[in-house]
Symmetry: C2
Subunit: 189 residues, 2 copies
DNA sequence: TGGTTTGCCTAGTAGGGCTAGGCTACTACC
DNA sequence: GGTAGTAGCCTAGCCCTACTAGGCAAACCA
């Protein structure tokens, strides 16, 4: 029988595509095997288990997102950088809802430390250079930024904003204005 | 054979408890049946399917949260109300992680419209009365608030803040300060 | 060219979702 | 207080997914 040429990389990519199409929760080893015209048992030669697959998808997504953010951030500073970062983040989440959802799975500490998530975190901090915040305000601001972005995107995806007619794009840009305002004038105790 | 006294209400409550213990994704009809000392097939007399169960848990959680928020909000205004609301929200999510996660499932429009989610939304708007915002700023502000709360709580739960030593409680209260500041001085175009 | 490794296979276990159809305990009504 | 109906549970059985063990053949490599 001919070999299908399955590799972990191809499996991860196909899994990511599948996630975007049907949701991470429906990314099954069996479905992936069908996609490769192979029996599901065969994939366990490449994958430890189903969770392993999802972790790999998450790591792929983190890397892709970090790349996009890096590209968006190049040559920008201040509010420009904030908006570019935010839009890169949201656009990625909307183009790749499954990958984005996969990113939210709880990685164990060493995996997380080795992931592109740290690059992402560094870039978030880099944005704040334009706002002249020192610790611990910087950490608090990073956390607020991340919360706002993730919360907005997440609620947008699960339909949390549907009940109000106002276009979400408008609320998004006003939210970024507000975030810029509060970062510019971070309340000191 | 004796009757187990299973009702939809008891199933929903037990399902909610199960969700808090093992996560929504592990709330199975089979596990619930075991908990009631009953065969899984029997539950389909009370439940349409597994999704139906999770929706019920979500609705229960929305109602509980709305109650808590209402209690927290009583007699408060301005920043006081904002902080009370936010803490009620976060505390509920931390006490009931499974229920909170269940709340995020995508309800179909009519179910959502009939849920306690609308009470929640009304109360969020009520907070903004203390900040004198008119439409569409109000909607934008509500969305930003909700995003920040949900994002923070969500990231906190999935370990998104673990890589920095700063206590999350501190970042939380500073985030609320920032939110109050920006609502007080909402940037106009 | 023959041995080893690599990549796929079949077969089988366990568990979850769900349906069909059967039996029984309770309820209501005459 | 007997009996018809129904509500609440059951068994049996289907399909799907995760995962393991062990077999066989293609590819590689000495």
């Amino acid at each position: 029988m001919a070999r299908a040429g399955v590799t972990v990389e191809r499996l991860t990519l196909a899994g990511a595509e599948l996630a975007d199409e049907v949701g991470v929760e429906n990314v099954t080893v069996a479905a992936l095997a069908r996609r490769f015209g192979v029996k599901d048992a065969s994939l366990y030669f490449h994958l430890r288990n189903a969770h392993d697959l999802r972790v790999r998808i998450a790591l792929l997504a983190l890397a892709e997102l970090a790349d996009r953010v890096a590209a968006a951030l190049a040559g920008r500073a201040g509010k420009d950088a904030l908006v570019a970062f935010a839009n890169a983040y949201r656009d990625y989440a909307r183009e790749h809802p499954g990958r984005y959802a996969a990113m939210q799975i709880d990685l164990d500490p060493e995996t997380a430390a080795a992931s592109a998530g740290v690059r992402h975190a560094e870039m978030t901090r880099a944005i704040l250079r334009g706002y002249r915040l020192s610790e611990p305000d910087q950490t608090d601001a990073v956390r607020m930024m991340h919360s706002t972005f993730h919360g907005f995107v997440s609620l947008e995806q699960t339909g949390g904003f549907r009940h109000t007619p106002r276009p979400t794009d408008d609320s998004w840009s006003r939210t970024l204005d507000a975030l810029d305002a509060v970062l510019t004038n971070w309340p000191s105790r």
